[in-house]
Subunit: 243 residues, 2 copies
């Protein structure tokens, strides 16, 4: 099965959570919108899929995964679908729900991190909500980020199969997404994370261990991994970080 991922080609964004799962599994996939428009790919192919009027089950927004005839959207839903197929999810239903529950909580955390630079409206530019962004970022770094990080640290600490993985005794897509979440925070808020990260030894060990997995390490060094930048979910604005 060759998977087709449709996502904006200039940012990691939410597509990255899907890319990491596909990369770790060594799956056969095409990152469609990063291809050339002249070969039927690129952004035109993404826009066409979003506007396709004869889809019975239209997606609201990217990322979108095509698997044969199935068209699946919503990041966590894509990973729910891919998990068992890529051997990145538990085998039992209760374990899969638990993995998905964590993924949805990571999605909430991601949204709050994004909203630090876009608190008023995602349709306005950062400069149009810069003052508000400072207040939101302060609350995020002082209260919300520690609350989420405490929670995820405790998930590792309580895992009866040991603290190497978020779910059970083997790698799942949740570990890859947790890696990406921490990578995003380290990029966007280096000063805050320098202060916070020593309080989360299990999460930081997970982050390092994912980064050094052979396929992930190769991916991170490749051109397939887009750099973080100021168009994505996680943005580095010095004025939003702690002093």
């Amino acid at each position: 099965m060759r998977y087709e991922l449709y996502y904006w080609p200039s940012i990691q964004g939410r597509g990255e959570f899907v890319r990491l799962a596909l990369e770790e599994a060594g799956a056969d996939y095409v990152d469609v919108a990063r291809g050339a428009a002249r070969s039927g790919r690129g952004v035109p192919a993404l826009l066409q899929l979003l506007q396709e009027a004869d889809l019975d089950r239209p997606p609201f927004a990217p990322p979108i995964l095509k698997a044969g005839k199935q068209v699946i959207a919503q990041t966590a839903n894509i990973l729910l679908f891919l998990g068992p197929r890529l051997r990145l999810a538990p085998k039992d239903e209760a374990g899969r729900l638990w993995a998905h529950q964590l993924q949805l909580t990571i999605a909430d955390f991601v949204k709050e991190a994004h909203d630090t630079h876009h608190p008023i409206a995602s349709g306005l530019y950062y400069k149009e909500q810069k003052r508000e962004a400072r207040r939101t970022a302060r609350h995020f770094l002082e209260q919300r980020a520690p609350k989420y990080l405490n929670y995820f640290e405790s998930v590792l600490a309580r895992n009866p199969r040991g603290e190497r993985f978020m779910v059970g005794g083997a790698l799942t897509y949740v570990d890859l997404s947790m890696f990406q979440m921490i990578a995003g925070l380290l990029y966007a808020f280096p000063r805050a994370m320098a202060r916070l990260s020593p309080g989360y030894p299990r999460l930081m060990a997970l982050y390092r261990s994912i980064a050094s997995r052979p396929r992930i390490a190769a991916y991170l060094k490749s051109k397939r991994r887009l750099p973080f930048n100021r168009q994505g979910l996680f943005r580095r604005y010095s004025e939003l970080d702690l002093k």
Copy 2:
């Protein structure tokens, strides 16, 4: 199976999406935090579950569903679990993923509706972010709400099994959640919805059809249905509505 729902007892909030599914199915359930503390229920029981240190799979926040020994959190995840058990989900995997995808998009819409009155931080009072809330609400009502409503209207229009239901030819939990979303918008933004709703005849027909289902109609009239209020997700502040 007697289900136990744990959610804040004074608001509809996210718990309402679960309550509506349980009510429509005529399921045996206890709304634990609305019980009396002296009988081991009430808010103390909810706080105890949130703080239980020996849970292997701790929830981050309510709503939480206990089903036997399973403890499940995240609204959409609870509905993913309950759907097949309450006969409120399609039978095939692709149909279930589609229902879940719509539910996650409703969750995004809910979060944006909530953020109209709390754009800066959920930990601050409304009065501390009232000015910002006006700007966020204007963008929400002019751009985001129409975008979501257009999308969901098109989902009904494109349903090959007819426009009575969001997914396939039978009721699912998605229809109940769509009802609740529209009910919330009608409560919070009566002037905006008076203008918008004629543009969404299929959604408004769905809303009325759900409200008149016998079990839902009985539930809405009962004391089990909490009224909308200014502590919940959807809040009516005249200054945030269109003029």
